[in-house]
């Protein structure tokens, strides 16, 4: 193996109090595709951002051609031949395809003006290479998501980089588009370009990879040649523990039907004329954990947000303990006993400017009021109880929320929901972006609440979780229920087949 072009050396990255990376050594070799694996929150994107100059390491450094280099910005890295295709699209929807491709890298004429003709010709050429027929003068905002992703890829290709980092480049591509991308990647490696490839589709990534690297909880845990390993090995390294301890067995004690949903339809908040949830019916009994599994866009989040009162359903009925729950907003539903732990805890779950204790007590603040004011002893007592109950590791109620790790932040969001004394607990992707230890804690917490008679409804996009955690699993595809299974009834392969809903899915095969 030749010497690496680009290398992260002992890189550590801390956000607030959270360790995203802990002393990672990561080499990238010319002419080879290095596939990087890891769960959500394992630190893949952070590592790529550091290699591309978007983020600076807290400690450690980056080496280019064996010499230490400080990549001050993505522009700085790009000048040194490092290009990145972002997981999140970083295009300006109000500009044309050509303008986006040449943004901040405009081709100039002799007079210093932008050479539109040259730019358009280059755009045409690179789009041809990707077998994409989009109009170079069309607005990026008018393209569908997959095409936008191709524009993003084209932009990286135009840089003629020596190192190409691709972070989830295929999430919105169709199978033929993925084929084309792979062909282009092989052309690049043949020409000596080093490629880093990250994808949630393990088989797809293993297919294109030469080398395999696995990250777990910010630590590099394994490296291997692609030909020598299989998906099973990769998953073992990613999860890093015996599945039995992560997914404890439980025997539910079921009570009355707590939450009943009949023919619920919810409009997609982004595309109002499309139904995100389409005539769905389900029921959750007290003491039961029900999982909802579905791919991206299956309507999981919209379902929970409608139940929590954030989205107004188009039609249908929601019952709590047999009594209708129609109409009222979030506040009233929390008072009635339905509370949501949202998917994106940074965006929807936590108030970053407030302390751990203030975050915990926020949803149940009204219950600590004495006269006009919040009773401090009452609030403190409740917060202390919550910190122990949901096992938050913190220096105390006054600690800044940002000083907590991802898993502990998630526990605070769950603790906040539990302090409202709910009858029905809704959790949207509760294990997303938390480390394995916290994941086990969170599942244990859900089980404990179910034992106390709560009805628990949670969503997941993780097949292992879907198969092992819930007492009953509902599989969602395109807003509709396509299957319902008891635990142990289903294999991973069957789940994949069912969740495709028999229709071609958005992503690659």
């Amino acid at each position: 193996m030749s010497a690496p072009v680009l290398r992260a050396c002992e890189v550590t990255k801390v956000y607030g109090g959270t360790h995203a990376l802990k002393g990672v050594d990561f080499p990238v070799t010319a002419g080879r595709v290095t596939a990087l694996f890891g769960e959500n929150g394992a630190g893949k994107s952070t590592l790529m951002k550091i290699l591309a100059g978007i983020e600076q390491p807290t400690t450690g450094h980056v080496e280019l051609d064996g010499r230490p280099v400080r990549l001050r910005s993505s522009r700085h890295a790009a000048d040194r031949g490092i290009a990145i295709i972002h997981q999140e699209l970083s295009l300006c929807p109000n500009l044309s395809v050509t303008d986006n491709l040449f943004l901040a890298r405009e081709v100039r004429t002799g007079f210093g003006a932008v050479d539109r003709r040259a730019q358009r010709a280059a755009t045409r050429a690179v789009l041809d290479r990707l077998e994409e027929r989009a109009d170079p003068d069309g607005l990026v905002g008018d393209l569908r998501l997959g095409q936008q992703q191709l524009v993003e890829i084209a932009r990286a290709l135009l840089q003629e980089a020596r190192v190409l980092i691709t972070d989830e480049p295929t999430s919105a591509l169709t199978a033929p588009e993925v084929e084309v991308l792979f062909r282009v990647i092989r052309e690049l490696t043949a020409a000596g370009v080093a490629v880093v490839y990250i994808s949630h589709h393990l088989d797809e990534a293993l297919d294109i990879a030469d080398d395999v690297v696995v990250l777990r909880d910010g630590t590099l845990v394994a490296t291997a040649r692609a030909g020598e390993v299989d998906i099973r090995w990769i998953v073992e390294q990613m999860v890093g523990r015996d599945q039995d301890t992560l997914f404890p067995d439980r025997e539910p004690v079921l009570g009355e039907e707590a939450l009943t949903v009949r023919d619920l339809s919810v409009a997609d908040p982004a595309v109002p004329d499309r139904l995100a949830v389409d005539g769905l019916s389900l029921a959750v009994r007290a003491g039961e954990i029900v999982g909802v599994y579905g791919l991206m866009g299956a309507g999981r989040t919209e379902l929970l947000e409608a139940l929590a009162g954030r989205l107004r359903p188009v039609s249908g009925q929601v019952l709590l303990d047999g009594r209708p729950l129609d109409g009222p907003g979030i506040r009233e539903r929390i008072e009635r006993g339905v509370v949501l732990v949202p998917e994106d805890r940074q965006r929807d779950g936590l108030v970053q400017t407030m302390s751990v204790g203030q975050n915990l007590s926020l949803a149940a603040l009204g219950t600590y009021v004495r006269g006009l004011f919040v009773s401090q002893p009452r609030e403190r007592a409740a917060v202390a109880r919550a910190i122990t109950d949901v096992t938050v590791k913190t220096s105390g109620h006054a600690a800044a929320i940002g000083s907590l790790s991802g898993g502990n932040q998630q526990k605070v969001v769950i603790g906040k929901a539990l302090l409202t004394g709910p009858r029905v607990l809704l959790l949207d992707e509760p294990s997303r972006g938390v480390d394995v230890g916290a994941k086990a804690d969170i599942f244990e917490l859900m089980a404990g609440q179910a034992r106390h008679g709560l009805a628990v409804l949670f969503t997941t996009s993780d097949a292992e979780e879907a198969l092992h955690i819930p007492d009953r699993l509902l599989v969602l595809a395109r807003g509709a229920l396509v299957g319902e299974f008891r635990r142990g009834e289903l294999t991973r392969e069957e789940l994949m087949r069912v969740s495709d809903g028999g229709t071609p899915k958005d992503g690659a095969a």
Binding site: E10, T12, V14, Y15, G16, G17, T18, H19, K22, G23, D25, T58, T59, T219, L220, V221, A222, T223, A224, R225, E228, V229, Q237, A308, R310, I330, R331, R333, I334, E335, L340, P342, R347, D348, G349, L350, V351, Q352, T353, M354, Q358, S361, L362, A363, L365, G366, V369, L372, F373, V374, A400, G402, S403, K416, T420
Partner: protein, 363 residues
């Protein structure tokens, strides 16, 4: 299989720990920066002028501070929510004009009625609250950006003040004992227990605001809404109500300031209070509040108002040219905000250093 397993390497731990300690010390200094600035101002002016550090002068300066502080307290609530209220200066003018109109008598069906002073005060504050309620309504129901909504109301309220007064000043608001409407002047020139009324008003409002922010559920909701509106919403915080109420309170505070000014001058001009909104925003910002919302205190805002007020009066006592006065005020505002940015950066770095140090100790 060529698989290998790695653990994070150990780096000197003490260095990180010391760095974390140093950064947290700096953080404390930053936390107190507004107080330090105020202390520096008082010392400098005290050294340069004999008449600066006298009790009567301190009382007079505090009286001048009070007007801006009262407006700034309302502004603080709006800024905590992540909004801004540009209409307060115009509300100051409108409130004075309404007081002038009412003290001059209400024409009701051919008869002129002279409402007593307390009614005038209540009505003026109500007018301020009404303008605030319109601001709140525009922001919460019609999704107009706070900057735009209150900019619009800046003109609407000023225009209303001009229309009511026909551009003229209401002179002599002292009232007549025969009409039973005397006493308006006390608001501006009365001195209960030796301190001007306006200082008592400032103290009372500051105590109320502190209780509201620190003790009441509303205060917590406000901090949460400003810190993360979506999270607050999902936690059942009535964010629309919170947002509307802060504009109403801000309008009430501005109206009170307008009454104090009209009472001090015993006359009311429709153009009173122009650019006062900027002074109030400056006080809140110097006091360490974040314009993005969720961060700020009553204490800081008061100190900010004192910094601006003492600076202005001190420069007058020293006889510094007006042009320099303007320039120095601007420099102080910029410096305060730069220090605030510095503090935020130090806080983040301190947290990162502390976290690195903590893991090193665990190893």
């Amino acid at each position: 299989m060529t698989a290998t397993t790695k653990t994070p390497a150990a780096v000197p731990a003490e260095r990180s720990a010391a760095r974390a300690r140093r950064l947290s010390l700096l953080n404390v200094a930053f936390e107190l920066r507004a107080f330090i600035a105020l202390a520096v101002l008082i010392v400098i002016f005290g050294l340069l002028s004999d008449s600066f550090l006298t009790v009567p002068n301190l009382i007079t300066m505090t009286k001048h501070v009070a007007i801006n502080a009262v407006i700034a307290l309302g502004m603080l609530l709006v800024i905590l929510k992540g909004g801004i209220d540009l209409s307060v200066g115009s509300i100051v003018g409108l409130s004075g004009v309404v007081a002038g109109e009412l003290l001059g008598g209400l024409h009701v069906g051919g008869v002129i009625a002279y409402p007593p002073v307390w009614v005038v005060i209540v009505l003026c504050v109500t007018v301020g609250m009404a303008v605030g309620a319109v601001n709140g309504l525009l922001v919460t129901r019609f999704n107009v950006a706070p900057f735009i909504a209150t900019l619009g109301m800046l003109y609407v309220a000023r225009g209303a003040a001009m229309l009511i007064s026909d551009g003229a000043t209401y002179p002599n608001l002292a009232g007549h004992s025969a009409l039973g409407n005397t006493g308006f002047g006390l608001l501006g020139s009365g001195r209960p227990l030796g301190l001007p009324t306006s200082i008592w008003i400032m103290i009372a409002l500051a105590v109320l605001a502190t209780l509201l922010l620190a003790k009441s559920p509303f205060g917590r909701w406000l901090y949460a809404t400003g810190g993360n509106e979506r999270a607050a919403d999902l936690s059942g915080v009535p964010i629309r109500r919170v947002k509307t109420i802060v504009y109403v309170i801000s309008g009430a505070c501005a109206a009170i300031a307008g009454l104090i000014i009209a009472s001090e001058l015993t006359s009311a001009a429709p153009q009173a209070g122009e650019t006062y909104e900027l002074n109030a925003i400056a006080a809140v910002v110097i006091g360490g509040a974040a314009l993005s919302g969720g961060r700020g205190t009553v204490r800081g805002t008061l100190v900010g108002a004192f910094v601006i007020g003492f600076l202005a009066d001190g420069l007058v006592i020293l006889g510094v040219s007006t042009f320099w006065q303007i320039l120095i005020k601007g420099a102080v505002i910029i410096l305060a905000v730069m220090l605030d940015q510095g503090q935020q950066r130090f806080k983040r770095r301190g947290a990162a250093a502390a976290a690195v140090a903590a893991t090193k100790h665990h190893d």
